[in-house]
Every structure is written in structure tokens, then in C-alpha cells.
């Protein structure tokens, strides 16, 4: 019952997992977390309608939300994990053949009229990437940056492949329903995943078997709301996930926590949780 649920085709994936049509998935009676979050699952100023259920990836956002006076949380695990279950072979590459680094630039956001750009020293970041990575680097730009030639060109001119996985959409329009499919396929052929901020893509990459790295200028987001603590809080809570050489076992354990691996549920259970069984 909220268009954010369509972001990245997450609702479509869950509908497919439940054996329902994924071209027009049935509505979720609330809000589905659409990205990894240091807060309650959504941005600090997010609206919620009365009685909405909040479907989050892991237990930590539920606890933080409860402390904010919010109720009706249900932990379901990240849709990406369900996609991995649905597509065990998609892009699967034998381990020795995986190579290169898929590097995600922290991105701005795209709500019409209220979106925000990032600002930072791209050249300095490129230099650091070149100093660090030993194999070919592919830069993934979110479409907000991909469509800004002044950003995209900097990375192309640096000799990197630059790709974009698509748009998440707005008000049920423009959603690239293959967004996560494309991302999963890509992750499975790269050896490393990196970013200048600890973010969703890092966790997805680790879940797909990539060695993570988080380094470089974290850059500034216009109008960034520091209510949840920002980058310093991330450094306090997940220091093990920051750096150029992160312990893989630790990264996997943290990723399992943050994506809610143990909360993955069978399709029949999910259908009931989302009230997706026809009652008439």
C-alpha cells in the first residue's frame, strides 16, 4: 500500500516467491524496507499511515522503531535473499573465475522535487581506488549520478567501466523490475565489492560471495538528516565492516544479521503475513 514497496522490484520478487504473479504484485499492507538503514528501517522523516505494518529486513530496525514509539513491525529478511533463493544459478560464476571489483559510489536520491545530490572529491576517490584495487574496476552509479555527465565522465575518463542497474521508480512508474536481478547477476561474477560508504550494496555483495571493502571519501549528501547518527554512528556500530581488507567470516556474520538471514520464511507463511491469501 505504498509505492516505495515497488522500489527495485522488491514487492515483485516477494510476490513471485509466494507463487503469485509478479507483473502486478498484490499490495503489502504497510511498508517494506527498501534499503539497509541505520535507523528504524526508513528515513527519519518518513510518513506512515495508521495501522500500517512495517516489514523490515532484520531485528535491529524493529527495536529502534519500537524505541521511537512505532509498533506493528515484522521482520521478514531482505527481498534480495529471497531472490537468491529463487535464482540460485543466475550469473553464477565458478569461484576461481570471479574477478575484479564492483565499486558502488554512494548515491543521491531521487524523489521528484525533493531529491538530493552528492558532493565530494571524485578525483581523489578515483586515485584511492587505483591505489587499492589490483584487478579491473567497474563503477556502479545510481541513475541519479549516471545521468549527471559531470560525475559519470570523471569515472569513464579514469578508465573504469561505468554501469547503472536502472531506476527504482516513483509512484509505481519507472521501476526497473530487473534491478536486483541485474545486480545479483553482476555480484556473482565479481571478486570484490566496494563502496565509499557502508551501504546496501556491500551487504548484497557479501551475501553473493564478494570480498567487501569500504574506503574513500564518504562524500556529502544535500540535506542529509543526521537524526540517526550518520557516518560516525556507522563507525561505532560496524567498525569491522570499514576498511580495505575486511575479514570475510566477520563480514558474512554481520551481513546475515543485517539482511535478516534467519528471518527468511516459507512462501505459505509470507502469504499469510502479507494477507495475500484470497479470503472471498
Amino acid at each position: 500500500m505504498h509505492h516505495h514497496n515497488w522500489y527495485y522490484g522488491q514487492q515483485h520478487i516477494l510476490a513471485r516467491y509466494c507463487g503469485l504473479p509478479d507483473d502486478f504484485p498484490p499490495p503489502i499492507p504497510g511498508y517494506l524496507q527498501h534499503g539497509w538503514n541505520v535507523g528504524c528501517g526508513w528515513n527519519p522523516a518518513h510518513e506512515f499511515f495508521d495501522g500500517a505494518w512495517r516489514y523490515v529486513w532484520s531485528d535491529a530496525p524493529r527495536r529502534r522503531g519500537h524505541s521511537l514509539g512505532r509498533r506493528n513491525y515484522s521482520v521478514v529478511g531482505a527481498p534480495m535473499l529471497y531472490l537468491m533463493d529463487l535464482e540460485p544459478e543466475l550469473g553464477l560464476t565458478p569461484e576461481p573465475e570471479r574477478k575484479g571489483t564492483l565499486w558502488f559510489l554512494f548515491h543521491g536520491w531521487d524523489a521528484p522535487g525533493i531529491g538530493a545530490n552528492i558532493h565530494g572529491d571524485h578525483q581523489r576517490l578515483i586515485d584511492e581506488i587505483n591505489e587499492t584495487e589490483t584487478e579491473p574496476v567497474t563503477i556502479s552509479l545510481y541513475y541519479t549520478e549516471y545521468k549527471r555527465p559531470e560525475v559519470r565522465k570523471v569515472y569513464e575518463d579514469a578508465g573504469f567501466d561505468v554501469i547503472c542497474f536502472g531506476e527504482r521508480g516513483w509512484n509505481y512508474e519507472g521501476t526497473d523490475r530487473q534491478f536486483l536481478y541485474k545486480q545479483l547477476k553482476a555480484f556473482r561474477r565479481f571478486k570484490r565489492v566496494a563502496s565509499n560508504r557502508l551501504a546496501t550494496a556491500i551487504f548484497y555483495g557479501v551475501a553473493a560471495g564478494c570480498q567487501p571493502a569500504v574506503y574513500g571519501d564518504a562524500m556529502e549528501l544535500e540535506g542529509d538528516n543526521p537524526l540517526f547518527g550518520g557516518q560516525t554512528r556507522i563507525a561505532r556500530l560496524w567498525p569491522d565492516m570499514l576498511g580495505k581488507d575486511i575479514d570475510m567470516a566477520t563480514a558474512r556474520a554481520i551481513t546475515d544479521d543485517e539482511l535478516g538471514q534467519k528471518y527468511i520464511m516459507p512462501p505459505a507463511e509470507m502469504r499469510m503475513l502479507f494477507d495475500w491469501n484470497q479470503r472471498d
Partner: protein, 523 residues
């Protein structure tokens, strides 16, 4: 008053309702009373069965009740010649200086032994009166009401409305009345002491106070106590369910201290068990296990938290994976030997052990599990316990279906229906009137539900608006595409394309030319 003796202090007209008795008390007395006593006194209102048991174990029995009509009824019911029925007050009996009694049964306590004409004796003075008629080494069984009982603390009635006609003097406003197990022990010199739970006079459960103090929420001992408390509470108007308080008391080791009353035993008698309860149950705490005997069948039950407590805890923590794993374990163990009561089921090794209650059934394992989960859901929701499942699941069979699925059972409509029927048969009796907190919580919940549903309508309308916008966008795209197509059809390039198309279809130019010639000639 044929065959009824009288001493000072009788009440007339008067009846003491709900005389103390019941199968549980009889079971204890059966174990305790010596096979053959010389003189037994039953003082206060007790059931005929208690008097008959005392009569069967004693050469002479005196029964003292303050109500004349009660005495006459007892006389009619127990005509045995060695039973003497006396009406009057305890202080009146003392004045009559009877020969000392070697067994004294005052299980009803010392609150209904005086008449309106008696002196204002407080509790210790009444106890002293009792000892005056008892032999020095007498075996005495004395009930003591607890002014600090949970059922009293949660009583909805104000203090001045609780005791009705009984309080011609403020009987319960007595600073010297013993109000803890230790005080009762001291006051009566008790050798054994039970927490006593009674409903309308019938003793439901007796639990040794040390076992009650040592138990913790969800353990077999606590279950016995909570069952007893519920039986007592079922007849009272309450502010709130006693369950929460009993759990807290059990955690604090104070379950014995908040029992509705105690049964003290002074002097020697036959050996007794740690606990007695309804259905012919008696049990002994033996280290980390309970040796349980129900209607002659013995078994051992681990002194651990029951399954319901563990599942409630997982639900409250919103630990669905933990709940799922536990339900899977339950599903792997379940059998169709007898009904599955999760509040009377205890983990043991890799499996589980049924506790005090065995209810045979011809239902399948899946149906018994469905019944267990229906009952779990009923108890979860009725107590307004915390859990992570939305209203549309709790208001339908979805919640039970989910739990069954976690236990590896596919919930069919037939299984769910049969489970519901079984759960209804096993449900505890509904209290005479709901407690105040439940009424308020239900009202609040209804209000929240109304707000939530209004929110849902808002959200659906907003979604419809977005979808309408999507449809408008699509329609505009379709119209534009159609207009573009029309424009394209009228363009010279499209006309040339159409002619070319037609020309391309001419497979035999000679025939085509001949046809044109013929048409020209005809014209």
C-alpha cells in the same frame, strides 16, 4: 434441635455458605489422619464428606458449627452415633470444657467459629481457644485465610464490601492475624504448611509452601499454583487477571506468600505429598523432577519451564525464528497419545513430557497439534500478551495455520476445524465477569483497531489514486501512440509504402495487365 447439642454463641437464623471440602482436601486428610483416633473435633463449616472421613478414622467425633440450621443439616446427613453435632461458638465450646481432642480439623479456618454474641476475639485469641480444647500432642489441621493474597490484592470490591454479613465486627482488620507462611508457622507451630487454593469452599490445590516458594514461572509447581489461583479467582470480581501477578510472585519466590490461604498441620500424622490437586492428582518434588500420580498412573515430569511459557517468551521477544525452531521441534515430537496442553508440556532431552493432565483422545496428531495451537492463540490473545503477528492473522485461522506449518503440518480446513472443537472442549471456564483491566484493554484495542482500519482505508485510497494516475499516464501514452500512427498513415511516405506493398503482392504481372485491359475495355 433433636440430636444437636448446643453451646453458647449459636447463630440463628444463619447459614455459612460454601463449607470447606472437596476431593483435594479429602485426599490430604486421607493420607494425614491416623487410622484410628480417639476423639476428633471438626470445627467450622466443612462438607459432609470431610466429617464422614473424620468419623471413619475416629472413635468419637464432635462437629462444631455456629449455625443452628447447618448443624441440623449435618445431623441429618451424618446420623452415626459416634458423631456429635454441636451448634455454637468456639468460645462457647471452651466454656463447656469438653475432654481434650487428639485430632482437630479446622480446615475452614478460624474466621467462622464465633457468633454475634461472642467476645471480640482476634485471630490469635481464637487460635488460643482452639488449643484449649485440643490435647497437647494433638494433630491439628487449620486453615488460614491470607489477607495478602493475590486474589485479595486484585479484588475489585472496596474493603467495606468484601465480607458482607460476616463482619459484624471488623474481623479482617486484625493486625495480629498471620499474613505470611512464616507468621502462620510461628502462630500455629505448624510442622507442615500448604498453600491452599479453593473455589467456593472446595479446595482445588494444595502445594507445599517450600515447593511453592522454590518454583518459578512455567514450572510444574507454578502451574499447580496458577491453576489453583485461577480457580479461586474465577469466583471473584477482579481488577486484572491474576496470571501476571502470579508470574511476578513466582519469580520473586513469593508464590506461597500470595496464595489465597494456607493449610497448616501441627503434630504428627501420616506422610503427605508435596502437592494435591483436582482429578486425583498428587505429586512429590524429587530433586529436579516431580513424581506425579494421576488416578493411579505414575510418571516423572522434569521441573522445567513448560512449552507455553517458552513460546510466549519467544513471541514477546518477536523472535519468530526461535519460535519456528521450537515449533518444528514440537512437530517432530507430537503424537496422538492424548491431547497436547502446551502449558502442561515440558521439554525433556530431545522431546517433551506431558505433565499433570492426561486427556485421552481419538484425534490425529495433526488435529491435536491444531488444538494445542488454537488454545495457545486463545490464551495469548485473551491475556493481551505481546506478539509479532498482525490482526488479520490473529482474527482468522492464519495464525494457527502458520504455527502448524512451522511444526511441519499442512493446515487443512478439516484439521483447523477439529482443532478448534478440541480447544473449545479444553478451554478454561470463563470467569463470572471479566476483569476490569481486560475490559479496558479490549476497549482500547477496539479503538486502536478502528484507527488502524481508517488508516488502511486511507492507504488503499492513496494507492488507488496512484494507480489511477498510472492508468491516466498509460492512456495518454496509448492516445499519443495512436495519434502518431494516424499521422504516419496519412503521410506521403506511408502512402507510397502502401502502394509499394500492393505492387509487391502482384505475383503475375501479365495476368494483372490483362485484367486491367479487360476492365478498360468494359468501361
Amino acid at each position: 434441635m433433636t440430636d444437636v447439642q448446643i453451646v453458647r454463641g449459636e447463630l440463628q437464623p444463619w447459614t455459612d455458605h460454601n463449607p470447606t471440602g472437596g476431593a483435594t482436601l479429602l485426599a490430604l486428610l486421607d493420607d494425614l489422619l491416623p487410622p484410628r483416633a480417639e476423639r476428633t473435633l471438626v470445627v467450622g463449616p466443612h462438607t459432609t464428606e470431610v466429617i464422614e472421613l473424620a468419623a471413619a478414622r475416629s472413635a468419637a467425633v464432635s462437629v462444631l458449627v455456629r449455625s443452628v440450621s447447618d448443624a441440623q443439616e449435618i445431623r441429618a446427613a451424618v446420623p452415626a452415633e459416634h458423631v456429635t453435632v454441636i451448634t455454637g461458638a468456639l468460645d462457647g465450646l471452651v466454656l463447656a470444657e469438653p475432654a481434650p481432642f487428639d485430632v482437630v480439623v479446622a480446615a475452614d479456618g478460624l474466621d467462622r467459629v464465633l457468633g454475634a454474641d461472642s467476645d471480640p476475639l482476634n485471630w490469635p485469641q481464637r487460635a488460643a481457644e482452639l488449643w484449649k480444647v485440643a490435647a497437647p500432642e494433638a494433630l491439628a489441621v487449620v486453615g488460614v485465610a491470607n489477607e495478602f493474597a493475590l486474589t485479595g490484592l486484585y479484588d475489585r470490591r472496596p474493603v467495606d464490601a468484601r465480607h458482607g454479613d460476616d463482619e459484624w465486627r471488623p474481623l479482617h482488620d486484625d493486625p495480629d492475624r498471620p499474613t505470611s507462611p512464616a507468621q502462620v508457622r510461628d502462630a500455629l507451630g505448624a510442622d507442615r504448611l500448604y498453600a491452599a487454593y479453593a473455589a467456593a469452599g472446595a479446595v482445588h490445590t494444595l502445594l507445599d509452601v517450600d515447593a511453592a516458594a522454590a518454583t518459578r514461572p512455567g514450572r510444574p509447581g507454578a502451574r499447580l499454583a496458577v491453576d489453583g489461583l485461577s480457580a479461586t479467582a474465577g469466583t471473584m470480581p477482579l481488577l486484572a487477571p491474576v496470571d501476571d501477578g502470579s508470574d511476578a510472585a513466582a519469580r520473586a519466590g513469593l508464590l506461597a506468600a500470595v496464595a489465597p490461604g494456607w493449610l497448616a498441620i501441627r503434630g504428627s500424622g501420616g506422610p503427605t505429598h508435596t502437592a494435591y490437586s483436582e482429578g486425583g492428582l498428587f505429586a512429590d518434588l524429587d530433586g529436579a523432577e516431580w513424581a506425579v500420580n494421576v488416578s493411579g498412573d505414575g510418571k516423572r515430569v522434569p521441573d522445567t519451564e513448560n512449552v507455553e511459557t517458552l513460546l510466549f517468551r519467544l513471541a514477546a521477544a518477536e523472535d519468530v525464528p526461535g519460535f519456528r525452531a521450537f515449533a518444528a521441534r514440537l512437530g517432530a515430537w507430537a503424537d496422538d497419545e492424548s491431547v497436547i496442553l502446551l502449558d502442561d508440556l515440558f521439554p525433556a532431552d530431545a522431546g517433551f513430557v506431558r505433565g499433570f493432565t492426561e486427556v485421552k483422545s481419538t484425534s490425529t496428531t495433526a488435529e491435536l497439534l491444531a488444538a494445542a495451537y488454537h488454545r495457545l492463540g486463545d490464551r495469548l490473545l485473551r491475556a493481551h500478551r505481546r506478539h509479532p503477528w498482525p490482526a488479520w492473522m490473529t482474527e482468522s485461522d492464519d495464525l494457527v495455520s502458520t504455527w502448524l506449518s512451522m511444526s511441519g503440518v499442512e493446515a487443512t480446513p478439516e484439521i483447523l476445524k477439529r482443532g478448534r472443537e478440541l480447544a473449545d472442549q479444553l478451554a478454561e471456564p470463563t470467569p463470572d465477569e471479566p476483569d476490569l483491566r481486560t475490559i479496558l484493554a479490549d476497549a482500547e484495542e477496539a479503538q486502536v483497531r478502528a484507527t488502524d482500519l481508517a488508516g488502511k482505508v486511507f492507504a488503499l485510497q492513496r494507492t488507488l489514486r496512484f494507480r489511477d494516475q498510472s492508468l491516466r499516464t498509460r492512456e495518454q501514452q496509448i492516445r499519443k501512440t495512436r495519434d502518431d500512427l494516424r499521422g504516419l498513415r496519412r503521410s506521403p511516405a506511408m502512402r507510397l509504402h502502401e502502394i509499394t506493398n500492393k505492387v509487391a503482392k502482384i505475383r503475375n504481372p501479365r495476368k494483372f495487365a490483362g485484367a486491367i485491359k479487360r476492365r478498360i475495355r468494359r468501361s
